[in-house]
């Protein structure tokens, strides 16, 4: 019996069974990791439902699966205008994400320049790589077009600084992974452009950001 246990098939059986069990556990662990966080819908581009309040009649929306893998996202304000600083500080103060500033190339670059009659007031371009949660951002550019020709006017009752800050707030929001929405905050292009919304993030937009970071 002792000899059979040491040299016989039952020892190989035990080794094989242990190996199979270990591999099964490893496969399960990898599968769970691939599923991502519990709030997986946050990473699949789906609308994140929030409790409506007086102003937030709609939900904020993720931009595809864009996300950062950290909650401190450094910003380089390449132009230190009041509007840029107010836009960055607005997000920094409103959400759980921290935005320390840098004086060299880093996570987000934000600037303003005259691109002419190109059709847009603001443009965000985000780059990164695919990971198990979707598109993981590694760098983002937030731009304000300072062109002031016909079609680039100031909404009634507002100032050029107001709309500029709102556009920069929106481009920063894109860099954080938000799409346009209808919440009345700065991601709400329609109400930002006609001046009836806010040039800061809405509470729905803040809640959506905080739900992830």
């Amino acid at each position: 019996m002792k000899l059979r246990f040491r040299d016989g098939p039952s020892r190989r059986t035990m080794f094989s069974a242990a190996l199979v069990a270990a591999l099964a556990v490893a496969n399960l662990a990898v599968a769970v990791e691939r599923r991502g966080p519990a709030s997986d819908s946050d990473f699949d581009g789906a609308t994140h439902s929030v409790t409506p309040d007086a102003k937030d009649v709609q939900s904020a929306v993720w931009w595809s699966t864009w996300h950062w893998d950290k909650s401190t996202i450094v910003v380089w304000p390449q132009s230190t205008t009041t509007e840029i600083l107010r836009a960055v500080n607005g997000w920094n103060n409103a959400t759980d994400v921290r935005h320390p500033s840098s004086t060299s190339h880093t996570d987000i670059s934000i600037w303003q320049a005259n691109y002419g009659d190109i059709g847009w007031r603001g443009l965000a371009s985000i780059s990164g790589v695919n990971d198990s949660h979707g598109k993981r951002a590694t760098h983002c550019h937030a731009r304000l077009n300072t062109y002031t020709g016909p079609g680039y006017g100031v909404p009634s009752g507002r100032t050029r600084a107001w709309i500029s800050e709102g556009v920069l707030c929106q481009e920063m929001g894109h860099c954080l992974g938000l799409h346009h929405d209808g919440t009345g905050g700065c991601m709400d292009t329609s109400r930002l452009n006609n001046g009836t919304g806010s040039n800061r993030a809405s509470s729905a937009e803040v809640r959506l950001i905080n739900s992830r970071y």
Partner: protein, 208 residues
């Protein structure tokens, strides 16, 4: 379980583990997305028509890369920001609103993207034009590049593709009056466009 089954099962699970691990690893392939905040956001066909200098139905006959728009950004590694411009030549079949010179034969439409590493990345609501596509476009003068005056769409809500089956596909997302046109026939879209042009005080239907 039979003794001979276990090694086979172990090999199978090992293979599965390798495949899962490789699949879950981060891809080194770079992904880039662009989001444009258009200067104008018309909320009705009337507003879109009022903003447009011309509203036309046409077919894309040529698409080419125009000169980039380059602005200095000293802090960036390249020292500049480079915006790619695609130019689509659209042969006009019909004009719902014409400029002072009357209905044009063709229009040169600008479409900005992001230039980098030889590629051009388009904005979601302003995708690349393709030769042969038909569009109803609300346009006005845009950039002047290389001595050529280009036209730009007033907003994504001013760009409607006519599918091969004759139904309408708006480029705008989240703009109710534009979304309402999705799946409608060209005749129905033309009716809405002509109504918007009429209310905006623009010139009526003309030839192409």
């Amino acid at each position: 379980m039979r003794i001979r089954t276990l090694p086979v099962l172990a090999i199978g699970l090992s293979g599965l583990l390798i495949v899962q691990t490789l699949d879950s690893a981060d891809s080194s392939e770079r992904v880039v997305s662009v989001m444009v905040s258009f200067a104008e956001a018309p909320q009705s066909m009337e507003e879109a028509a009022a903003s447009a200098q011309q509203v036309v139905l046409g077919r894309v006959t040529r698409v080419r890369r125009g000169p980039d728009v380059v602005v200095p950004v000293p802090g960036e590694p390249s020292g500049e920001d480079r915006i790619s411009i695609e130019i689509a030549t659209v042969q006009v079949d019909r004009a719902y609103k014409a400029g002072q010179g009357g209905p044009p034969q063709s229009l040169e439409i600008q479409r900005p993207g992001i230039a980098g590493e030889g590629e051009s990345v388009a904005a979601e609501e302003d995708p690349p034009y393709r030769q042969g596509e038909r569009y109803v476009l609300f346009v006005k003068p845009g950039l002047r590049l290389g001595g050529q005056q280009l036209q730009r769409i007033v907003a994504p809500a001013g760009r409607y593709r006519i599918r091969n089956d004759g139904t309408v596909e708006p480029m705008a997302r989240g703009t109710p009056f534009a979304e309402a046109q999705r799946g409608r026939s060209l005749d129905q879209l033309e009716e809405a466009v002509n109504r918007g042009v009429g209310r905006s005080g623009g010139k009526g239907k003309g030839g192409g």
